[in-house]
């Protein structure tokens, strides 16, 4: 994308006013997406964007500028703008970067297949048909396909030079079902860090049928309960609980500002002994996987909670530097227009030894959440919500009537202590995590598990 001598000159220019650290992050991304809605392929869209973000660090201060102009002149201009913040200082330093690391070297991850536009549309039509054949009450279907290829190149004044090529493909189906009581919805998404090979692993018909089945089941749903009940979370999307209840609170940017309930708790019990929580950017083709993060650091496996004891936080370059340690490979950004932040990758609870069906059978009364749709947390107080988009009552140890959508609410440190069963049926689910205006792809996962009590925000008294 950019020649090494150019990168070296740009880094030197960035440090000209006395900065301690400079970095060039270059990105070239192309997207293709299409949507079938209301029985029609409404549009096929393609986009391309390339540019570079340059940051200069001096003391506690970061200067940042970005440009879509990848010529040497454009980069030098951005370097000058980024270094303006260090103008008080002076110095001149030459920078030499090392050999390229990461999958940009050509080794490592396989080249991803690209499907043609025709193939994508065929998948959309198949999904539409499968959903519509799931039941006469299915009144609307929307199917979406998106694929992106992102090449990144990172060079910094410590001599790092790293690259990665990241392919991501997702397919989603949303259904509406219409009944006597109004409309209900169902939604399913498959997403992996793959190209078109996603569809070797995923059947779009299955996705469509699952989405339709949710909408149809909810036509007979009764209002969710209001108040505290035991909750069994099915494997997969239940991982959102850990993303919200503690994942965000373990991000070092919140920790160093004392804006997390987990500040100062390393070595302490923060969860049930059944909880071993891992964040791992190297897992297969999961949605939060990459070879190097957006600061050029290789992805790695980080154990955050071991048997209920807090063992570590998540780190990016800046926060790690301050603590005299190395980044944990969690420095990520939405695009070259954004500064990196501490972010999760694939965050999951290690499986336990209980039997999923047995967990339900041993719950006399409660709620079974088959699918969670998202959540939100206040890291300072630990209060968080997560929304159930497919849930059922558990009565006498059996899964019975479907429930309408509602949020569940709890406090992270309290909820993590209420986990009293974890099964072995582990699975992962893709998601999009938003923080401070930036969205990045992440994975969540766990096995079926039970919480002894959570407040359910329904309308049934």
């Amino acid at each position: 994308m950019i020649d090494t001598p150019v990168l070296e000159r740009v880094l030197a220019e960035a440090l000209r006013n006395g900065g301690e650290f400079a970095e060039v992050f270059a990105e070239d991304r192309s997207n293709t997406s299409s949507m079938l809605d209301d029985g029609r392929v409404e549009e096929l869209s393609t986009g391309r964007e390339r540019g570079a973000g340059i940051r200069v660090v001096m003391g506690e201060t970061t200067g940042f500028a970005h440009t879509a102009d990848l010529s040497e002149q454009g980069l030098l201009r951005a370097a000058e703008a980024a270094s303006a913040v260090t103008r008080s200082g002076e110095g001149s330093r030459s920078v030499a970067v090392g050999r390229l690391t990461g999958s940009g070297t050509g080794a490592g991850r396989p080249v991803h297949a690209t499907g043609t536009k025709d193939d994508a549309l065929e998948l959309l039509r198949r999904a539409d048909e499968a959903a519509r054949h799931s039941g006469a009450a299915v009144s609307q279907v929307q199917a979406g396909f998106g694929t992106s290829r992102r090449r990144v190149l990172i060079a910094n004044s410590d001599g790092l030079l790293a690259g990665d090529e990241q392919s991501r493909t997702r397919f989603s189906v949303s259904c509406v079902a219409l009944g006597d009581t109004g409309m209900q919805t169902g939604h399913e998404t498959a997403a992996r860090t793959l190209g078109f090979e996603l569809f070797d692993e995923v059947s779009v018909e299955d996705l469509a049928r699952t989405a339709a089945a949710q909408a149809l089941a909810k036509l007979n749903a009764r209002p969710a309960p209001s108040g505290e009940l035991p909750v069994v979370l099915a494997g997969g999307s239940g991982g959102i609980l850990f993303h919200e209840a503690c994942g965000h609170g373990l991000e070092a940017d919140h920790i160093v500002k004392d804006a997390s309930v987990y500040t100062g708790k390393i070595g302490q019990r923060v969860a049930s002994p059944m909880v071993t929580l891992v964040d791992d950017g190297t897992v297969g083709s999961e949605w939060g996987t990459f070879a190097v993060d957006d600061e050029g650091r290789p992805a790695q496996r980080n154990v955050l909670i071991q048997d209920g004891i807090l063992t570590d936080y998540l780190w990016d370059y800046l926060r790690a530097r301050k603590e005299g340690r190395v980044s944990s490979g969690n420095g990520r950004r939405q695009s070259y227009r954004d500064l990196p932040m501490v972010r999760m990758t694939n965050t999951f609870l290690l499986p336990g030894e209980d039997d999923a069906e047995e967990i339900v059978a041993q719950t006399p009364r409660g709620v079974y959440v088959a699918k969670l749709g998202g959540g939100q947390v206040n890291t300072t107080t630990g209060d968080f919500v997560f929304g159930m988009t497919m849930a059922y009552l558990i009565e006498d140890g059996k899964i019975t009537e479907p429930l309408r959508d509602a949020n569940l609410i709890g406090n992270g440190p309290e909820i993590l202590k209420r986990i009293d069963a974890v099964a072995s049926d582990f699975s992962m689910t893709p998601g999009t995590c938003g923080k401070d205006g930036q969205s990045v792809p992440v994975g969540c996962g766990q096995a079926t598990m039970r919480l002894t009590g959570v407040t359910i925000g329904g309308t049934a008294e």
Binding site: T62, H66, G227, G374, N378, D405, A406
Partner: protein, 460 residues
């Protein structure tokens, strides 16, 4: 080609020229719409008496829609380099081959409605030196730290500004341009007392640098954090809920999705088929009026280049209309209501609101007035999980909430970790009080204190 309308703004002539040139590359049998945009932005974040980060950036891009034989293709690029212009048009053209032919797919054409000019550009912003912006961010942070002994942390204190210009030219006769500046201060604080911590955020927005008010932003953040100290999990039960002005904009934003003509046409709105019916409390009148210059979302032209206009959506509780862009309007057999919105050059237009307001309640209905009228209930100052617990299609509504109990018509003890639930349909019918305290917040809706009866609270 129909007669072109001259709707361009001075200062954007070169952008219009560029869009003109690309639209001129259209071949026989195709309609082309070219949207070009560029912007500059500055953001300063202060922390602990120092600049944590200073971002300065410029960006530009192009989005092109091509229609051939009623098939739409779209392509975009994050650059206005000469080399990408033709490439992007070619991509859009190629993409059009794959869409389903649809007689309703068409570009907007001039409809004769005169645009109401609104001045959204602050000439002074470009001349403000970065040092002044840094100074303001640092001052904001210092102010927040010193404002109250219970403030133990200021985790973000930001200054930001944006200048954005855009031009739209089509082969169907649209030729418009817009430009807009905005500035903001935003601050997040943590209040602490003993082991307990609570957070609060505040902001001040304007068209430029001048007029930004650090005191207002701080006071708002500090009040919100401090009054929640000591909050406990509130009780479960049925209650009247008063939403503060900021929360009201979120509620109206959710409702606006169901008023989209596209959602209605596609059977994804609980308002579908209900024109002329009572859908709300008789006191509920809802209007979208981007021609009101006080509105944050004020605009002369919509995202297809048609004049923005005032649209009455609900009148005294009766559903009167939906919002349309050109395609959704055609599908419904009506004209566009000038309500196309788009998310920048990388997005295609669709119908949406810009400036919703409710007809205000009686004089004296500010926050205190509404609280006094309600007497007993729950006051909500923040909501979480709006994306995960509100289903705008079924209408199911369940959100996490923080706030204070209302007793004897006044704010009483703070509560947290509760949910507030109902359905959107029932909430509209149960809207018992609308504040006269209209404040144009940075949103597609105005802030007005709202009181809604009979909501389910889940807590202890």
């Amino acid at each position: 080609m129909s007669t072109a309308t001259e709707q361009t703004t001075s200062g954007t002539e070169d952008l219009v020229g560029l869009a003109d040139r690309v639209a001129g590359w259209a071949t026989t049998g195709e309609e082309v719409e070219v949207y070009v945009a560029r912007g500059t932005e500055t953001e300063v974040r202060a922390y602990d008496g120092e600049v944590e980060s200073l971002t300065s950036a410029t960006s530009a891009g192009i989005g092109i829609r091509v229609i051939v034989d009623h098939r739409l293709g779209f392509a975009w690029a994050g650059s206005l380099d000469e080399s990408v212009l033709g490439e992007t048009l070619e991509e859009a053209r190629d993409n059009a081959r794959f869409a389903t032919a649809d007689e309703h797919v068409q570009l907007a054409a001039p409809d004769g409605v005169e645009a109401v000019p609104v001045d959204l550009w602050d000439d002074g912003l470009a001349g403000v030196p970065t040092a002044k912006k840094v100074e303001l961010a640092l001052a904001l942070e210092a102010l927040a730290r010193g404002s109250d002994p219970r403030i133990r942390q200021v985790d973000a204190a930001d200054y930001g500004d944006v200048s954005a210009e855009a031009a739209l030219v089509s082969t169907t006769g649209i030729r418009s341009s817009t430009r807009k500046t905005s500035g903001y201060l935003s601050v997040g604080v943590i209040a602490g007392e003993g082991d307990a911590s609570q957070t609060g955020g505040g902001y001040s927005v304007g068209r430029g640098f001048g007029g930004l008010d650090p005191d207002k932003a701080c006071q708002d953040a500090v009040t919100r954090a401090v009054r929640l100290l000591g909050a406990t999990k509130g009780p479960s039960g049925r209650s009247t809920v008063v939403f503060d002005r900021r929360m009201a904009t979120t509620l109206l934003g959710i409702v606006s999705g169901a008023l989209s003509g596209e959602a209605v046409a596609k059977g994804r709105s609980f308002f579908a088929g209900r024109l002329g019916e009572m859908v709300g409390h008789p006191g509920l009148t809802l209007v979208d009026d981007p021609t009101d210059p006080r509105a944050y979302g004020a605009a002369a032209y919509d995202s297809e280049g048609l004049a923005c206009r005032r649209n009455v959506l609900i009148d005294s509780g009766v559903l009167r209309g939906y919002l349309y862009d050109t395609v959704s309007g055609s599908r419904a057999g009506v004209a566009s209501t000038g309500s196309a919105v788009r998310g920048g050059y990388a997005g295609t237009p669709g119908p949406g609101c810009r400036a919703l307001t409710l007809a205000p309640g009686p004089e004296g209905y500010d926050e205190d007035g509404v609280l006094a009228a309600v007497g007993e209930g729950l006051f909500v100052q923040s909501m979480t999980g709006v994306h995960s617990g509100v289903n705008p299609i079924s209408g199911d509504f369940s959100v996490g909430a923080e706030g204070l109990m209302i007793r004897d018509g006044r704010l009483a003890e703070p509560v947290r970790e509760i949910t507030v639930a109902s359905t959107l349909q029932r909430m509209l019918l149960s809207l018992v009080a609308v504040g006269a305290d209209v404040e144009w917040l940075p949103s597609i809706a105005a802030g007005q204190t709202l009181a809604i009866d009979d909501m389910q609270i889940s807590g202890m």
